[in-house]
């Protein structure tokens, strides 16, 4: 089988559809070609391996999202169980089935449209298909509400992949994270489907009513609830940590995101510097807001009071902050490359996410906006980090006593340092 595929590949080399064939081929097998010039280090983790590792870290979130979609739907109709038991109320076939028929179409559309566009561009440009969409395609279903209409998703994916990535030259050349570009497009194009209290629970938009009453079901995210000026909410801390709350498909369970993040850190795929500094940044901003409330600089009737009063560390448990920090901010293409830059980049993402959350009245979620903004600034941060490094070394050179032979003068050392 493997040999046969190699033969087919040779036969159709240079033909128009060759890139499309090669994409499927290399997805299944490693190519039989060797590099032709110079010496190369062979490493086990190529782009595909990296992508697959991230997808593995995302699968638990997806499975949880499927169960949670069902759980939120049935709980909204029948009322939340008084005595919650994981196996009786959450991990049921009923929940799984409902979640599967609502979530899996989103996954299929996301991958179908995205990969189709990647293939079309590869054939037009005549280069190999890049694997960049594998992770994006998995991230997209996890960051949209369950009831997102599929055609909207298809339009947004087409926009995100073409405008967010292909116009810049494809995978590895994009400035903005494609998954977040898709999310931002959806948010600005179809705000009624992306926020409010009717989109987070399956069926709420269609007006399904609660059992034994005429009220339509609804489900508000914790942040949406707080943004309306409320200070008390019904979800317990453990609910928020384990993720039994309404929200986008895969972002609710902080526990599973944490596990996925640890997995990415130990497999050295994602940068722990960005994650850690983003957490510090969000805690810092949260503490500032808590401090403002404690100092009574803001009256209780202010519309910002509810969110400002929200315990600073609990920001990490609700909304997409944890998910964004672990899976989106750490995107190696759009993030900062230098270590010092990663600290600044991550810190500002956390800092601004919480700030936008509190100050954005229309939509109490700022993670995707904060990350997109920092994506734009990442090259600038890197530039100044590199420049700063050069400056410091030049200064060190000036004050250094030079021991080596007189023949290698300052000039030679200078070029070496720079």
């Amino acid at each position: 089988m493997k040999e046969k595929l190699h033969q087919i590949k040779e036969k159709y080399k240079g033909k128009k559809m060759a890139p499309a064939f090669n994409a499927i081929h290399t997805f299944l097998y490693s190519p039989n070609e060797t590099t032709h010039s110079g010496s190369h280090v062979r490493s086990a983790d190529d782009l595909k391996r990296t992508m697959n590792t991230v997808i593995m870290a995302l699968v638990p979130c997806l499975l949880f999202g499927i169960f949670n979609a069902g759980y939120q739907h049935y709980s909204a109709i029948n009322g939340f169980p008084a005595e919650f038991s994981l196996f009786e109320h959450f991990l049921t076939w009923e929940n799984f089935w409902l979640g599967a028929i609502t979530v899996l179409p989103i996954v299929i559309v996301s991958y179908g449209v995205g990969l189709a566009i990647e293939f079309i561009f590869a054939v037009i440009k005549g280069h190999e298909v890049e694997e960049g969409y594998l992770v994006t395609g998995m991230l997209v279903p996890l960051i949209v509400p369950v009831d997102t209409p599929l055609w909207m998703l298809a339009v947004a994916v087409a926009f995100g992949v073409v405008i967010g990535k292909e116009v810049f030259g494809g995978t590895g050349m994009n400035i903005l994270n494609p998954a977040l570009t898709i999310r931002a497009f959806l948010f600005f194009a179809y705000p009624t489907w992306m926020s409010g209290d009717k989109v987070w629970v399956h069926g709420a938009k269609d007006g399904i009513t609660q059992a034994g009453s005429a009220d339509a079901i609804s489900g508000e995210t914790v942040l949406g609830y707080l943004a309306q000026g409320n200070t008390e909410f019904t979800y317990s801390l453990s609910d928020m940590f384990y993720g039994f709350i309404p929200g986008s498909v895969g972002e609710t369970s902080t526990l599973l995101i944490l596990l996925g993040g640890l997995f990415l850190i130990f497999s050295k795929i994602a940068s722990w510097r960005i994650m850690l500094s983003a957490v510090i940044g969000s805690l810092a901003m949260g503490l500032i807001f808590n401090g403002i409330v404690a100092a009574e600089w803001i009256p209780e009737y202010s519309k910002f009071y509810g969110l400002m009063n929200f315990e600073y560390w609990q920001h990490l448990l609700v909304g997409g902050l944890a998910f964004g920090i672990v899976f989106m901010a750490t995107d190696p293409v759009t993030g900062s490359q230098t270590n010092r830059g990663k600290w600044i980049y991550g810190f500002l993402i956390g800092f601004m996410s919480v700030m936008i959350r509190v100050f954005n009245p229309g939509y109490p979620e700022g993670v995707f906006l904060a990350i997109l903004l920092m994506n734009v600034f990442a090259p600038t941060i890197d530039h100044y980090v590199v420049r700063g490094n050069i400056k410091r070394r030049m200064k060190r050179l000036k004050t250094a006593t030079i021991h080596p032979k007189v023949t290698d003068g300052v000039e030679a050392l200078k070029t070496e340092t720079v």
Binding site: P149, W151, M152, V155, I163, V167, F185, F188, A189, Y190, P191, T192, W193
Partner: protein
């Protein structure tokens, strides 16, 4: 073409495509972003600029030998400001609603880089007839892009063209809306115009590779 010599015809036709002020010279972007949410506003803007640039170019060209070069920018400003005020007053008198939609952007035609650019680059060195053709051509090139952008933004953003619903009624859910289609709110906001202009630039340059600038 009997009416115009080939050289003269090129003065009008060049700016429409291969030397378009917006997509090639990237001038006049600000107003292209601000007023293209509706097709009607785009059209009125285009006509206003055609008037201002056509007449302005002729006036500057007639005065080109008497304007001291040290104060030429001021003279140009006075000419364009006069013309813009005429346009503004006409709009206020006969199309008040539209003039409110266009608001400050009619006044800002004065600062439209295309106009000063054509005065400087063409009218100061050519006769009135040629300057007139050049002015009309460049303004048309600007207007064409405005109308294309306005067309797509109004169609997808509001589902209307010239204010007339073409995709059905979004509230009563008729026509295309019955299938679940919704207006794209993204197209209403100015950044969408930037992206539409970008796509036009992309399409134009991939059709004519000679237009691609050296990186």
């Amino acid at each position: 073409m009997a009416l115009l010599s080939k050289k003269d015809a090129n003065l009008i036709l060049d700016p429409l495509a291969d030397n378009n002020p917006i997509t090639i010279q990237v001038l006049g972007i600000c107003s292209a972003l601000a007023i293209t949410a509706e097709l009607k506003a785009s059209l009125v803007m285009a006509i206003s600029v055609i008037f201002v640039l056509g007449v302005g170019n002729v006036v500057i060209s007639l005065m080109r030998n008497v304007i001291p070069s040290k104060i030429r920018i001021i003279v140009q400003l006075i000419v364009v400001a006069t013309l813009v005020i005429i346009v503004d007053q006409v709009l206020k008198a006969f199309a008040y609603e539209l003039s409110k939609t266009l608001s400050v952007f009619v006044g800002l035609i004065i600062t439209n880089c295309i106009i000063m650019g054509r005065f400087e680059a063409f009218a100061l060195g050519n006769g009135p007839w040629k300057s007139f053709l050049d002015g009309i051509g460049n303004a048309l090139g600007y207007g064409v892009i405005l109308i294309i952008v306005g067309f797509f933004r109004e169609l997808f953003g509001s589902g209307t063209l010239f204010g007339i619903p073409v995709l059905g009624d979004p509230i009563a859910k008729t026509g295309l809306y019955a299938t679940g289609y919704e207006n794209n709110g993204f197209m209403i906001i100015p950044p969408a115009a930037l992206i539409v202009v970008g796509i036009i630039i992309w399409v134009q340059r991939s059709r004519n590779k000679a237009l691609i600038e050296e990186a």
